[in-house]
Amino acid sequence: MAHDEHAAPTVPTHQEIASDIMAKFQNINQSYWRWVSLLAVLFAAGVVGFVIKLMAGFDDRSEWGYYVATLSFLASTFLAMPVISAGLRLAKANWRRPLTRLTENMAITGVLIWFMLIPALIALPDTEGRLSVWFDFPHWMSFRGGNLMVWGTVVLIGLFLLWTLALPDLAAVRDHMPKSPRGKVARVLSLGWTGNTRQWRVLHSGVLLFGAFYLLLYPTLQTLLQADFQAGLLPGMKDAIAPATALINALQGAVAMTLVVMFIMRRFGGYERYFGIDQFWALSKPLLAFSLLWFYFWWGSFITFWYGRQPGETALIQFLILDSYRIPLIFSFLFNFIGPLVALVWNPVRRSIWGPTIVGVGVLFGALINHIRWYVAPFSVLDPPEGKDWPHVATLMSFEDAIPAGQLPGIADVLIIVGGIAGAFLLFMLINKIIPVVSMWEVGEGLRLVKVRRYLARYAMVIAKSH
């Protein structure tokens, strides 16, 4: 909880916290429905955009670039948020307690993302004859089936992580709202939780297991995303760092999204006491670190290509950096690196509510632009001429005549971007009324480990090490 170090901090009881969170959870007001309706309308607009694309068919792959960019943006922000939860839990950061549920609830967006993956995979050409991490497996299952399986596993593990961690709170909802429909759903989902020692032990083991699996599998998802949807479509692209870059960008996006959602929940949901300075301050540090790493990874790739000067590398620098997608790169550079660096290097900015939030919004905008650069560009590269193979080495093929120009979005593309993001938020809003957005048991557990002690003229929090 937020506190002033000069005054005696007040530590509420578990009972007070549980009552407060439950009251907020039970309350579904007009404002909530207005937000849900707005998001539903925007999501419907996205569906319209998708139908327009569907009617155009899959023959022209360049039509699907913005769709894949949206998919990738969602997978690299919303779906990366449980990584934050799992990582902070493994690191035993005490300040995490109020915000982990928020990040875990975002796992629900994986359902939408998984369904969005199917048309994206159809839009991809077969791997036969082109570069692929699936190498010489010619059967379509190897990359389409493989992607669906890996993405599906990540989504399922995310949902299991959420479910396992929500069991005690679902039981609380079940006991507080026995007659309401939400209470009935909670009764089914809480799996007869009574909070005995064995159940707690199983919960802790499950969380460790699912958290570790999520941390291990999420980089694989990013690797496949980069390899199949980007590198495999760009002649001469040999960028081993790209999946790691994508992973860093995803973590940056996830932290930024957590900050922004915390701000929204604080401002409009009445959760000021849970998402306080401590949480914003603590999260702004990894945001700064990931922003610095954003540049480092980008530079690592650029300098190797720049010095290599092989024909494919020169063409790729022209295409992705200096020419066709120069403007998106500049935007991304400003919002993902320069902006966070200039702002978050100052402790007063980090230690505020507005500072990290504004930087977070910028980072998300920059990330969206960067995903457009990453995925619209390869989707605009034409297939090799009839009878010719995809390039195996750094020959240029499609680049021989001219480097493709940057592609601007059409109306359907804009609808898909807006609708996709709105759909993810809509699912988040809905799940928040089934599973409380702040974990009652985790915050309560944290309170038991904290005591206030007086040291000379000051008060300080004493935190027990919970192992």
Partner: protein, 457 residues
Amino acid sequence: MYYRRTLTEAQINQQLLGTVLTTPLWWIVLVSLLGIVIAGVVGVVAWMFNQGLGVTGLRQPVFWGFFITNFIFWVGISHAGVMISAILRLSQAEWRRPMVRAAETMTVFALMASLTMPLVHAGRPWRIFYWVFPYDWARGIWPDVRSPLVWDPIAITTYLTSSMLFVYTALIPDLAIIRDRSTGWRKSVYGVLSLGWHGNPRQWKLQGFAGILLSALILPVFVSVHSIVSWDFSVSLVPSWHVTIFAPYFVIGAVHSGVSAVVTLMIIMRKLYKLENFIWEEHIDALARLLIVVAMAWMFLFWLDLVFALWLKEEQEITVWMLRMFEPPWSWLFFLFFMFSFVIPVPLWMFRRVRRSFTWMLWTSLIVNIGMFLERFLIIVPALMRKGPQTFTYATYRPSPVEFTIIFGTIALVCFFLLVFSKFFPLIPLWEIKEGQLLIDEVKVGNARVPALVKEH
């Protein structure tokens, strides 16, 4: 079993200043032995300079061998200091306290050892100056600033300077304590070095500020050093070297190797200097957990390096990897490297009992560094053994006894420096330990009393 030892300030001073204020016999014996070894190695180096590089195993086209491997190895080890000290200081990890000084010091000495290698490798060390400094003003011949070989000395000397500053800043309060307990010329020397430290609030404030500032400033230097070393390789077009991932792969590998070296050093220090009251199972456990994370990240990058090496299906690239992985003796070395760096230690570290065993941690951390030395060797040598267009077989490389001796000499050099340092300065920071004692508390949770920490702001 979790337990803490609470010590008074007098006990901390007495136990940590033991070797500084008195000279044990084992110290004299060890320093003398290492001194003899180093003198011998200097003789070997001098002989090599006299005879030329023909006495080594370096032959065309393999002109980078053990010396460059060793250079990268020691630069890697040097990454421990900043990793442990700066990052853990910034993240306020409480368990950092007993290990920061030793890690920072090891950084300095490992960098010094690494800097000797390019000099030795050049065969004619004075020629190094041709690369770094302009040597012919009249004809306008300048070093090529676009070459990473020029960036290397700049990055490493910057890192060395900042690391020394880092060590020194954190030493000042301890130097004042030694000053107050010394007499004669030693008192004067420590008096000058402690810069008039009396521990007033302003001095502490400045000290804390300098610590945080240096921690933050040194981080980019720390990352840049091994990145630049990696660019020595990746900006070339040698098959298996020209890969974009080398910078983070080298950095994370360096951290893996460096943190393992800190574990080894802490355990040996604990035994030699009888530091059981300061280095606990908890500290080694925390380092092992950190190592698990680092090793997993390193494995991810290694896997990407391998997959994307095969990605373009280029014959030369695949050949180098096949050579590394399937052709003896390289395949044996590859097997050992992989087992020692990851397959053996990481699963073992998953067990709490191993993480808290000094014996297990000593051996697992040692084998990690053997593995990481082999990794650098396997990156360098097979890639250079390429079959040229006019040749029918691969060149090979076999390090000569001269190279083995010099490599061994660098290990002796770092140990020698550390022992000499420990005679004049405490290897565990007294003031950090005392500060840590003030932050220790207990909280009653249910019927148990749980160790707790005061939250720093």
